[in-house]
Amino acid sequence: MSLLDIEDLKVYFATRAGTVRAVDGVELSVGTGEVLGLAGESGSGKTTLGYALMRVLPRNAKLDGRIIFNGRDLLTLSAKEFNRVRGREIAMVFQGSMNSLNPVIRVEEQVAEPLILHGGMNEDEAKKRARELLAEVGVSADKAKSYPHELSGGLKQRVAIAMAISTRPKLLIADEPTTALDVVTQAQILRLISELRDRFGLSVIMISHDLSLLSEVCDRLAIMYAGKIVEVGSKAEIVRTPEHPYTQALLASIPSVERVGEDSPSIPGEPPDPINPPSGCRFMPRCAYARRECEDFDGYLYELSSTHRAACVLVGGKPIERVPR
């Protein structure tokens, strides 16, 4: 029984230009103590998906489908009921944590806040616990009383993580947690996340455009394109035997030490218009293997194994010659 089951989730935004279909029918699940990497280019809908799980979307967003978390469909909860889930059972660390900390409140107070809100502690208890949490993530006691602007990017990110896990949530959503950090700090943050999974059984959905980053720390990977999941599987399966052309192209575009001197292949073309996505397979215009069958394809995720699924006609149905056009 997985911790989180997303069923046919749709997130549409009503704008003056039309309805933007940011997430267009997503099926995904996350188990306990598992780190799932959600990869995709900007505009793929991965961040919107994360925000949808937290229900912190702008006013013009419409959600549809089911988000089953711990047996309950989150989308059926009232605003007040969900306030007790948000920040307590599901927490989020945002992209660019440099700005997700309140500039005029001391760091330890900000970490203490979820404990006061959900943990029933008073201010002193919460602050004490906050200092412990900060120490756990590597922020020393003397820094705990600082204001955000006094800390480095890496430290701020740690604070954001401490803030998110303070209530021992079951699920952490980390949106580009290491962007804008240097490689050393990046590695430290990733190590911290792994530790949290190992020690506390924390499940993580890590969102990033950087597939190589995700492959370092994630147990499973899901690839998203134009609002839909195109491939999902264990790390080994995705990295070693990717089946969807988009995944293959993503992996091929990662610069590698072994291919020094060669140009990294980039994917030609552009993602489809989210207001008017084409019928059929959305990756078709950019796919090297596109053929007539792709025009009728509805995005179904064919099973390659019990854990590995890919949404490509080359996988499901009759075996077809994998010959590029």
């Binding site: 979307l57 702008p58 006013r59 605003a79 007040k80 969900f82």
Partner: protein, 287 residues
């Protein structure tokens, strides 16, 4: 953004349409004053002093028997004229100062900004009163004084915009191609900065109308020309206020309110249309 699409966007903005409608009405009132005014404003009728509104005088008469409605209509001319001309001066000086300060940086910038801050600190109305008292209260003086006291806000806006645009790649490219400062300012900086100035201009006009009315009311402005402030000045000075002659006191002030609102709404709408803020912000579910 083309002029046509901007206009369309502006008109779909409620504030803007209302503001513009008000302005159009006022400008027409001023231009057509000789035609729509029921009497000549200086026409005295000694038999009908301080009369309340009647069929003969829709807004009543003042203490020398002049028709107040006519005075109001004619008053729009000076009130609006001073607003426009003073703002013209202010925007001219302000844009020049702002562009130079923003582009030159360094000491020039510091010096110009200190001067700008100085004028923002000293209450403009007070300074205007004192200067007008000392230099004489002709119409020209009033226009110049208000203009020279209003340029700082334009300068600030222009300077911020210049600072942003001077760092843009196309300016760099232009410099590499050997363009001189004057050329860059004229071709690259100014056209991009001007849209931001429009909103500020509208607000400056609103302010100028207000300041002129204040100066005239206090007797340091040009009290010989008919303007709304001038009407109020005589309403107060003649004791009509304490006598409770509301028809004398209410209309001129109301006109000022309407005019200021018109320009302010237009200014805010222009700001929204021309300088869009990109972020939408989070929503609260209970809302």
């Amino acid at each position: 953004m083309s002029a046509r699409s901007t206009l369309k966007k502006y008109l779909s903005n409620r504030k803007g349409s209302l503001g513009l409608a008000i302005l159009v009405v006022l400008v027409f009132m001023a231009l057509l004053a000789p035609v729509i005014s029921p009497y000549k404003p200086t026409q005295i009728d000694p038999t009908a002093i301080l009369q309340p509104p009647s069929a003969k005088h829709l807004l009543g008469t003042n203490e020398v028997g002049e028709d107040i409605l006519s005075l109001i209509i004619w008053g729009s001319r000076i009130s609006l004229l001073v607003g426009f001309l003073a703002t013209f001066v202010a925007v001219l000086v302000g844009t020049a100062v702002g562009v130079v300060a923003g582009y030159m940086s360094g000491l020039t910038d510091e010096a110009l900004m200190r001067t700008t801050d100085f004028f923002l600190v000293i209450p403009a109305v007070v300074l205007a009163i004192v200067v007008a008292a000392v230099l004489g209260n002709t119409l020209l003086n009033v226009i110049l004084i208000i203009g020279l006291l209003s340029w700082p806000s334009t300068a600030r806006v222009v300077r911020s915009a210049t600072l942003v645009y001077k760092q843009m790649p196309f300016v760099e490219a232009s410099k590499c191609a050997g363009a001189g400062t004057a050329y860059i300012l004229r071709k690259h900086i100014l056209p991009n900065v001007l849209p931001l100035v429009y909103a500020n201009t509208s607000l400056t006009i609103a302010n100028s109308i207000f300041t002129q009315a204040a100066l005239v009311f206090l007797g340091v402005g040009d009290i010989n020309d008919i303007s709304w402030g001038q009407i109020l000045h005589f309403a107060y000075a003649s004791g009509a206020i304490t006598a409770g002659d509301y028809w004398y006191a209410v209309p001129p002030g109301l006109m000022i309110v309407v005019a200021v609102l018109g320009f302010a709404l237009t200014g805010y709408a222009l700001d929204e249309v021309l300088n869009p803020k990109l972020k939408a912000g989070v929503v609260f579910e209970s809302a």
